[in-house]
Every structure is written in C-alpha cells, then in structure tokens.
C-alpha cells in the first residue's frame, strides 16, 4: 500500500493541460453531426465528456464555436449540471451513492472512510491520478444499500472493511 504522506491533496483549480490531438477529429465529428439538431448543446457535452473523461476549457471553446452557442451559455450549462466536470477524474472514479436508502444504511461512514484512506475530499483526485472521489445522487440500487460505483461497476452492500480491501486491491493492481 502506498505511503499516505505522498498522497497530498490536489488543487481544486482548473488544470491546464494540452489536449490529446488524436481526439480532435472525433470532437469535430461529434460537433458536426449535431449541428442541425435543436437543443444540441447537452448531447454534445455528454459525448465530449465521454471522449476526454472531462470537459477542459479548450473543448468548451470548440463546442461554443462549432454550435454557435456563446461561451457564457456553454459555461453556464456545464456548471449547472453535476455530471459535467471541468476537472479530470482519476483512473478509478469512485462515486458513493448518497440516496436516502444508502444514507440510512451508513453511506456517510463509507465516505468518511474513503476520505481517510485516499486523503482527498469529495470532488478531488489523488495526486497519482489513480482515484477520484465523488458523492452521487441516488443510483436506484436502493435494495442493495449502501452502494458505491467504481467507474461503471456497482458495488453493493458495502462495509468499511470491504472497502479497504477494494482500495488495496485496486492499488495492488496498479503496482502501488
């Protein structure tokens, strides 16, 4: 397991980094194929985020120009909806369900434990870019509460001890 001291918090500001040129053509195609669609902005943002993992500023600028939607409006929409992220996410994106059923069954204890183990708060990413932590809205797996999602996989009826081994397992898989 990694030493906890080397996993300092990540800044919350925007991380400027060069765009992957290989994805540029795909982004252009996404924008082109939606040009005639009324109300295209949100579907385009969904696909762009799928492509890059998050929505960096240069991508937003391209979408703004491509769809002829003012940048203010694009930014307004991105910051309104919680699924859109201006910051990169970890390789393993952990989302703890904070729905009612999970909450009454101890989701907060899960989140506290993750904070402790990963040394980050919800909304942040570890410096090694391996994990990011978020709370999420009810994922509808209330029968299996408390639940959390790692990337797309739902982990049901989690307990803090199970979670420790899950994190350890993922770290081991990455050789940390």
């Amino acid at each position: 397991m990694a030493d906890s001291t080397d996993m300092t918090r990540v800044t919350t500001g925007l991380v400027p980094e060069p765009l992957d040129p290989a994805l540029e053509a795909q982004l252009a195609e996404i924008i082109d194929s939606h040009r005639a669609m009324p109300g295209a902005l949100i579907p385009v943002l969904h696909e762009a985020q799928e492509l890059y993992g998050y929505l960096p500023m240069p991508v937003l600028e391209r979408i703004s120009a491509g769809l002829k939607v003012p940048m203010t409006e694009v930014y307004g929409v991105v910051t309104f909806y919680s699924r859109f992220s201006l910051q990169p996410k970890g390789k393993y994106r952990i989302q703890v369900c904070m729905g009612t059923a999970c909450y009454v069954k101890g989701a907060e204890a899960l989140l506290d434990r993750l904070r402790e183990v990963l040394h980050i708060d919800p909304g942040q990413m570890t410096t090694d870019r391996l994990f990011s932590l978020d709370q999420c809205r009810c994922i509808g797996a209330c029968g299996l509460a408390p639940a959390l999602i790692v990337n797309t996989e739902v982990h049901a009826k989690m307990e803090t001890t199970q979670m420790d081994s899950l994190i350890a397992e993922l770290r081991a898989k990455e050789g940390r």
Binding site: P38, G39, T100, G140, C142, G143, A145, T152, V154, H155
Partner: protein
C-alpha cells in the same frame, strides 16, 4: 423483425413468439429467467447468467431457453433466477452465484429435481411467516401474492431486449386498437374515465392533461416521457425502463395519436446507463417493426421517439425545467401558467407524463376504464408502485392497489423491520415528502391521505426507518439534498433552504438554541409560499413533518444536548461496560485519537474529551462491551 403493415401482421407476430414458446420438446420446455436489472447485475447476476448459458449449450439442453429479464422485484434476494416449466409451474432461486448455478443446471435442468435449499422459501427465514418457508416460487410468497401488477406486468417475465416477447404479451395491441378502431377523442375519453392520475408525484389527471393539449390548434405538438427519476430512494421507473421499455414507447405513441403529435422525447437520467441502452435498442426495434415511424400499422399516423439524457440535476424532474433542459439550457423552472399543455417544448403544446403513468396506458386501453376504476379508491383508481427500502425485511418493488395501508406494505408484504428493532417512521415522497409515524400506519394510501399526513405520494419511494435513525438527522439529510439541488433562480428556495440547513446543522451538532424550532417553522412557511416551482414549495416538508411528529426529538437535541437515536455523532457518547470488558486491548489499538487507556487485567476507560465518537472501538470489541448513548 420484419415491418408489420397492419393489425393482422401484429397478431401474426404475437402468434409466432407464442408458438415458439409452446413447441413440445422432450422433458418439457423450460425457461430460465435471470434477473439482469441494475440491482441484479450489481449483486452478481452476470456470472450466473454466463454459467446457465454456457452449461446449457455445452450439455446440449435443447429444451432449455436462457433469457435475461428485468427486475423481478425483491432486490435483497438478488441474484435471482426463475425457472418456468411449460405447465406453468415456477421455481424461484435466490442469492445465487456461479457454483450454485452450476448445481441447479445439473439437478434441476438435467435431472429434473428442484434444488430446494436455494429456493426463495428456504432463504427467507422470517419466523412470522411459516408458509413462506414452503414457498418454492416468488409468486407463492406473501411478498408477491398480495401485489397487483399493472405497470410492472412484464418486469421479470419477458426479455426486455426482445420486441417479439412484448408483442406476445399483448404488446402494441393497444396502439393498434387506438390507431385503427378509435378516434383521438375516444382515446382521451377512455383515459379520462379511467381516472388515471400522474404517478410522478403531483397526481394530476392524465386524461385532462391530454385533453388540454389536444384542444390546441397548430401542427406541431410534442409528447415527453419524464424518466428523470430523481427522488432518492425511488427506482420503479428504472425497473420499468430496464424491464419493459416497449410499454413506454407504445404509450407515448398512443398519447401522440390522442393529442396530434408526431414526435416524442424520453428524458432519461444518465445515472441509469442500462435503461438508456435498453430504451435505445427498443426504439430501433420498434422502428424496424414499423411500430414507430411513418404510417404505423397502415393507419396513416406517424410517430417517432428520441432519447435525451439528463445530466444530474434534480430540478429537471420538474416539467418546465425538464423542457428547458431538452432545449439545451440550464434546467430552470419558469412561472406557470402557461402550462406545458398550452406552451411547452419550443413553445408548442406538450404533454409530459412520467414512466409509471405511461406504463398503465396500454392496459387501460385494452381492458377498459371500468376495469381500471374497479381497482384502488374512488379518487385514486388503479395501483401504485412503491420502491421499499431502508430498514425493512425485503427491499424491493411493490405494486399495490391504492387504498392499501402502510402497515400491509411494511409488515405483511415486506416482512417488517429486521433485527427485532422498533418501527419509527416511513418516509414517502422523497425530498418533497415527509415522515409518517407509527400511529398512522393504518391510513389507506392515496394522494389525498398522504398529503393530509404532511407527506406526499411523490414518485413512490418508501424508506423505512427504525429506532436507530435520528429524525433531525433525516430532515437535515433531505435539506442537504434540496440545498444542493436548488437551481438558484428564486431566492426563497436558494437562500431559505440554506438558512434552514444551518439551523439543523447547529441542532445536530449540539449547539441548538431556544427559538430555533419557531424560526424553522417560520422559514418553512415562507419558502412554501414564495418559491417558484414544486421543488422549492415542497422543500420544507421533511422538516415540517418531522417537527409535527417528532418534536420531542428536536427538543432533546436542543435542551438536553442528547440524540435519542444515538445517531448524531457530536452528541453520542461511547462507554465501556466494566462488567463485560476483558481488557484485551483491541479497542486501544483501533482508537485513532488515543482516547482509550487502561492496563491488562482492569476494565479500560474512554476519555470523553478526546473521543471523536467514530465508533471504531465498538466495532472491534469482541465482547460487545462498548455501548453508544
């Protein structure tokens, strides 16, 4: 499936699927249905399905058909598999894994012996229901036997990825009947007479909504399916979308015909990837079969459906916010009127119905309004699906006639509270609803009765809480949600809920003051009165209803600095029982702040000033000597 040109084609398609299912084969035909909704998959249904598929193929069991199906309904028992024989007998296996599945293949499918120990009756050891222990199938249990399934009629029964299976169960027959044998006015009349009310929360009569939109002139109108099921704790719409997506498409086409719309949108949460995928597949299949698109079944009427994904904003469940989101903007509500039926999407007349409401429509058209009004109560006919969760024996989806009591749902159907704990409250209506205490368990449920109790129907989440849940903390949890999800457009909701949340935070931290409760009530009244949309107008409900029924708990927090449920961390004290302590020292090792001290041979002690009440010691203690107060 080839394009269906007319009603005869539709009937022929149904006959083909039925015939394929009833062909006589040696040993009788068996249908293995593996529950593959989100919860089934999370519980481990995929490896189970793989074992059944590969083993059945490897052993050449030609009489066995392995299918994935939607939510069977009893989430706690997932992964679940149902095996149905041609004679109609059913066996339900629960809590399966790959090894158990392999044994079922050998014993049940090959040798014809039911593996009793994995059946639902054996897994469900509840003392009060002896008969359940003999039950081999879900149908025979009290959980299922008392339900009446209309909206969930196909969930767990058919393969949601096969349009043929839907058609074989009268799918698209209601659309055929509407398009070819009824006028739009007749369709609206049937829905009006049925008394169907919106299942998304408000309870507005669906037929009247359609009538308003139909009365508008102009060529462009829209039908929207609200599948933005945002209430935490509600997942019935997800189950319908994952388990029976065609029922929603069929109902939307019927609504389109009734009001004169040619285009529909389904606004579905991006948090439901499986529902999105199955809806997309269903739309493609329906287009291919000519059940969406131009000239449906030779009627001359055309209708098509597009999917739009939500992006994580609770307020978008509000109809006008949803419309602005489809238009590509921030999902903010606007003052009503005009209502969407008059001026909706892109300023055109628009009907918005929720998933469960729509799932009722085809059945009502086929069976008639009189059949529907015979179910439920006079003011709220039909059934309601509840997603029952929290501290309850069987978590899952329960569809019951309106007028059923909470006690019947919680104790008779879902098996009561586990662990011998005492029932405290049932929360309905999500962040817009309230907590209903034990003295009202016998109230028959309908829209009006729940509102009178200070809660509301909402979309049907029902979270059960026991004596360990703090009602002040629950109220804070819901306000936390509304504070976060307030869109920020109107100040009463944006600022008022934050102020209420601050007071609750103080109370649960042990810093409550005299006058806090009065201030909460005053704020709540103003927010209800002055907010722009339903989200804000109902946001104070969780606080008001807990204040109404559990005021003593609030007062204990404020005056005695005590949390009666021993749940609020700042007010909880841990103590070591000297009688039980064997001074093993495990608690000392587990304490993150070194608040425990002592020596071998004598009972240990916790220093209150250092203790952060994390509970780590109590969890580690092998002698249960550490108690929370």
């Amino acid at each position: 499936m080839k394009r269906l040109q007319n009603l005869a084609d539709l009937q022929a398609a149904a006959a083909v699927t039925e015939a394929a299912a009833s062909v006589q084969v040696p040993h009788g035909r068996l249908r293995v249905l593996v529950g593959m909704a989100t919860c089934g998959i999370a519980a481990g249904a995929s490896p189970v399905l793989d074992v059944f598929r590969s083993e059945v193929q490897a052993r050449g069991l030609g009489n066995v058909q392995v299918l994935s199906t939607g939510c069977i309904g009893a989430c706690r028992l997932e992964p679940m598999v149902e095996i149905r024989a041609a004679d109609g007998s059913r066996v339900t296996y629960v809590k399966l894994d790959a090894a158990k599945a392999a044994r079922i293949v050998q014993e049940h499918l090959v040798e014809g012996r039911v593996v009793d120990e994995y059946t639902i009756g054996k897994e469900d050891h509840r003392p009060q229901s002896d008969h359940i222990q003999q039950a081999r199938s879900l149908e025979a249990t009290s959980f299922f036997g008392r339900q009446f399934r209309i909206a969930l009629r196909n969930c767990g029964l058919i393969d949601p990825e096969s349009i043929g299976e839907y058609i074989a169960r009268d799918g698209y027959a209601a659309l055929g009947k509407a398009l070819l044998k009824m006028t739009p006015v007749q369709v609206i009349d049937v829905i009006k007479q049925s008394g169907l009310r919106g299942r998304g929360g408000g309870g507005f009569p669906t037929g009247r909504k359609w009538e308003f939109a139909a009365a508008q002139s102009g060529p462009l109108k829209y039908v929207i399916c609200n599948a933005d099921e945002g209430d935490p704790g509600a997942f019935m719409d997800r189950s319908v979308l994952e388990g029976d997506p065609h029922s929603v498409l069929e109902a939307m086409a019927i609504a389109g015909y009734a009001i004169g719309a040619a285009q529909g949108f389904i606004y579905v949460r991006a948090e439901y990837p499986l529902a999105v995928q199955r809806l997309g597949l269903a739309i493609r299949q329906a287009r291919e079969a000519g059940l969406l698109g131009d000239n449906i079944l030779g009627s001359g009427y055309g209708f098509d459906v597009q999917l739009r994904l939500g992006a994580g904003a609770f307020v978008c469940g509000e109809e006008i916010a949803l419309i602005t989101s489809i238009e590509g903007q921030r999902g903010e509500p606007k003052p009503k009127p005009p209502f969407p039926a008059i001026k909706g999407l892109w300023q055109k007349p628009t009907v918005i119905n929720n998933v469960e409401t729509l799932a009722n429509i085809p059945v009502i058209l086929l069976k008639g309004a009189a059949w529907f009004t015979a179910i439920g109560t006079p003011k709220s006919p039909g059934t309601k699906v509840f997603a029952v969760g929290g501290k309850i024996g069987i978590t899952g989806l329960v569809e019951i006639p309106m007028g059923t009591t909470l006690r019947e749902i919680i104790y008779d159907i879902c098996g009561g509270i586990p662990g011998g704990k005492r029932f405290k409250a049932a929360q309905t209506g999500g962040p817009s609803g309230g907590c209903i205490p034990a003295q009202h368990l016998d109230t028959p449920i309908d829209y009006e009765s729940l509102t009178a109790l200070g809660s509301m129907m909402g979309s049907g989440g029902l979270i059960v809480m026991d004596e360990d849940n703090c009602m002040v903390d629950i109220a804070k949890f819901f306000l936390d949600f509304t504070v976060d999800e307030s869109c920020g457009k109107c100040p009463p909701c944006r600022i008022g809920t934050v102020r209420m949340h601050e007071i609750l935070q103080r109370i649960t931290a042990g810093e409550g003051r005299e006058g806090d409760l009065e201030q909460l009530e005053e704020l709540a009244g103003n927010i209800k009165l002055a907010s722009l949309c339903g989200l804000g107008q109902t946001a104070p409900n969780p606080v008001l209803s807990t204040l109404r029924y559990f005021r003593d708990e609030y007062e204990a927090h404020i005056r005695d600095k005590r949390c009666p449920a021993a749940s609020c961390r700042a007010l909880v004290r841990y103590e070591i029982d000297p009688e039980r302590c064997c001074s093993c020292g495990l608690c000392v090792q587990s304490c993150p702040v070194a608040a425990i001290h002592g020596s071998k041979g004598k009972p240990y002690l916790i220093t209150r000033d250092y203790c952060i009440a994390c509970g780590a010691c109590a969890a580690k203690c092998p002698f249960t000597a550490i108690h929370k107060h």
